[in-house]
């Protein structure tokens, strides 16, 4: 097992490197001189030259990448043009809000997805199955930013039960003042993973139940609860893989939801970075989110190998 983890860790290094390269290149695929983006519009030629050297834009690209990567590894993601603060600091402040939102949404999505999926798979072709299938297809087809708007219309504008925007006063705390703000965005975000987890588990459970080993278990006289335990055990590895991937998508895909609810997370940060052409901030935020995604995938792989004897650990 330790050897497997070590091997996966080693294999993840080239991916991390390539991801960093893509993030680095983002600044350079941007139209125009990357320097323009770090300069105030009224900068003098002298300042331009100074900044060019300060940012290292006069060096060849591979050297620039090397320097950038070296700094990034040491936690220095550059300076935000808009705020003048360090990018690492900005991202660090926002990422907590994104993680809270993503984990809560994931929890909701996985819990309901698992419930719906198991029920539908267990009662295949019943009316429950049909209702659940419709819900899950609607879930994966939903423009979730629109769902967010609709929920705001219903629960904030019309019923007035929950706040429409923001994360509450001051920093985050686990009290009702703050928690009521997270409900709508979390529910909105949970819809897609709920749909996908439902679909996956429904198909898995349906397949497993039609297999012979289940017939054998029933023939052995096992009660349905025990049969269910066997099925759940067999469905677990795939389910965990899907869930890990979905959690990653939530972390990276929260930008639209954060925009709708003005949620002060990384997505909101990203949005302002894009419209203020704050490329260092854009680059840094995306790098951090992509790294979360890469390491989440790594954890999922290891977990899967730990619980599924069929995956070779050599």
């Amino acid at each position: 097992m330790l050897a497997f983890i070590a091997k996966r860790l080693l294999l993840v290094l080239p991916v991390v490197f390539a991801v960093a390269l893509v993030c680095f290149m983002l600044v350079h695929i941007a139209p125009g001189d990357p320097l323009v983006s770090v300069l105030p519009p009224d900068a003098s030629a002298q300042l331009a030259e100074q900044m060019k050297r300060a940012y290292g834009f006069d060096r060849p690209l591979p050297v620039q990448f090397g320097i950038w990567l070296w700094k990034a590894v040491h936690g220095d993601l550059g300076t935000s043009i808009a705020s003048g603060r360090s990018v690492a600091e900005e991202v660090f402040r926002a990422v907590g809000n994104t993680l809270r939102l993503a984990f809560l949404a994931a929890f909701l999505g996985f819990a309901f997805g698992a419930l719906f999926g198991f029920t539908a798979g267990y009662f295949r072709d019943s009316w429950i199955d049909r209702v659940v299938t419709i819900i899950s297809i609607a879930g994966v087809s939903m423009p979730h930013y629109w769902l967010g708007m609709v929920l705001v219309i219903v629960f904030s504008v019309q019923l007035g039960w929950l706040p429409a925007v923001g994360a509450g006063p001051g920093g985050w705390a686990w009290d009702w003042d703050h928690f009521q703000h997270i409900i709508l965005p979390a529910v909105t975000m949970s819809v897609i993973p709920m749909g996908i987890v439902t679909r996956t588990i429904r198909a898995l459970v349906g397949d497993l139940l039609s297999q012979e080993f289940v017939l054998a278990l029933r023939a052995k006289g096992l009660n349905e609860l025990r049969v269910f335990k066997h099925v759940a055990k067999n469905a677990a590895p795939t389910t965990i893989a899907i869930m890990g991937l979905q959690l990653g998508y939530l972390l990276g895909g929260s930008i639209l939801i954060e925009f709708v609810f003005s949620w002060p997370g990384t997505g909101f940060l990203l949005n302002s970075a894009i419209f203020q052409r704050d490329l260092p901030l854009l680059q840094g935020t995306i790098l951090v989110l992509a790294m979360f995604f890469v390491f989440l995938n790594l954890i999922v792989d290891v977990l899967q190998a730990a619980i599924d004897p069929r995956i070779k650990r050599g």
Binding site: P143, Y145, I153, G253, A290
Partner: protein
């Protein structure tokens, strides 16, 4: 020769053989959900294409005194938007750009992704490794993040958002194309064709493409729904279409503040995105089961 006539198993109904795709079409037509979705999509597409000839109100003409009228206002069946423009006309006209930016990236990605994936699968070796490892890098980003990152770096604009969406959808299509091709290449009918003395290009044309295009196509259709949502999402963030162009995602953005005045008009463009997206999803599911020849 002594082959007995009883060997010949006669099939009771002599079914006139049809082409493979004709059969798929016939099976699809027997599925009511698929037919309904196809009809809805065709109606929306036709309305969008022929929007200028439908004698609708001018989608660009606003009126300061008729802003945000509710649904059902005489003369404005679906109300008016925040600048007093006719919602019905804007929704119909909006279909043109929305459908285009939802479909074009997938079509382009299908062409590029299939070429790359089939080459990787059929040639194997170094070509395969180069293509597939590059694709792996793009898998290290969640798709929404990747689309927004590229779009954001390139700057707002419809071309840039088309480019970024195409880049997002190429890697998954390459993966599917590669795995399907690799498995088909290993089948014995390809070996039999090689044993007949056929060259690689002939085998590719006659035996490989016909068997891999179907699965890749169906997989790609399942991406259209995602692309519709993402494309409109980019516009919603202000990264795609620019005002005053009617486009569902952008309309949703500009109507955001109107939810306090006339919420249901503000929600209309999203309902369109949802309808189109769910129809593509169901149609893709229907096609998948219709293509299973053994069912």
């Amino acid at each position: 020769m002594t082959i007995v006539a009883t060997d010949i198993v006669r099939i009771a109904v002599v079914d006139k053989a049809r082409g493979y795709w004709t059969n798929v079409g016939r099976r699809l037509m027997r599925d009511p959900v698929s037919v309904l979705c196809a009809v809805v999509l065709i109606l929306i597409a036709l309305a969008a294409i022929f929007a200028p000839y439908l004698s609708l109100a001018d989608p660009f003409l606003g009126s300061m005194i008729r802003r945000l009228r509710p649904i059902g206002t005489p003369g404005y069946p679906l109300g008016t938007d925040e600048l007093g423009r006719d919602m019905l006309s804007r929704l119909v006209h909006g279909g043109r750009l929305s459908l285009l930016i939802g479909l074009l990236p997938v079509v382009t990605a299908f062409v590029i992704g299939t070429t790359l994936g089939v080459s990787a699968g059929y040639v194997g070796g170094f070509v395969n490794q180069t293509i597939m490892r590059t694709v792996d890098v793009f898998y290290a980003f969640p798709s929404v993040l990747l689309a927004i990152a590229i779009s954001g770096a390139l700057g707002a604009g419809i071309t840039n958002s088309l480019v970024s969406l195409t880049i997002v959808f190429i890697p998954p299509i390459v993966r599917v194309a590669e795995s399907v091709t690799t498995s088909v290449r290993g089948l014995d009918f390809v070996n039999a064709a090689r044993a007949s003395g056929a060259g690689p290009l002939t085998i590719m044309r006659v035996h490989v493409l016909g068997n891999v295009l179907g699965p890749i196509f169906v997989y790609s259709t399942s991406l259209i729904s995602v692309c519709m949502i993402l494309a409109a999402g980019l516009s919603f963030l202000g990264l795609g279409t620019k005002p005053p162009q009617p486009e569902w995602g952008l309309m949703l953005n500009t109507l955001r503040t109107a939810i306090y005045i006339n919420p249901w008009v503000a929600a209309l463009p999203g309902a369109m995105i949802f309808t189109v997206s769910i129809c593509f999803n169901l149609l893709s599911d229907g096609m998948r089961s219709a293509m299973d020849v053994r069912s």
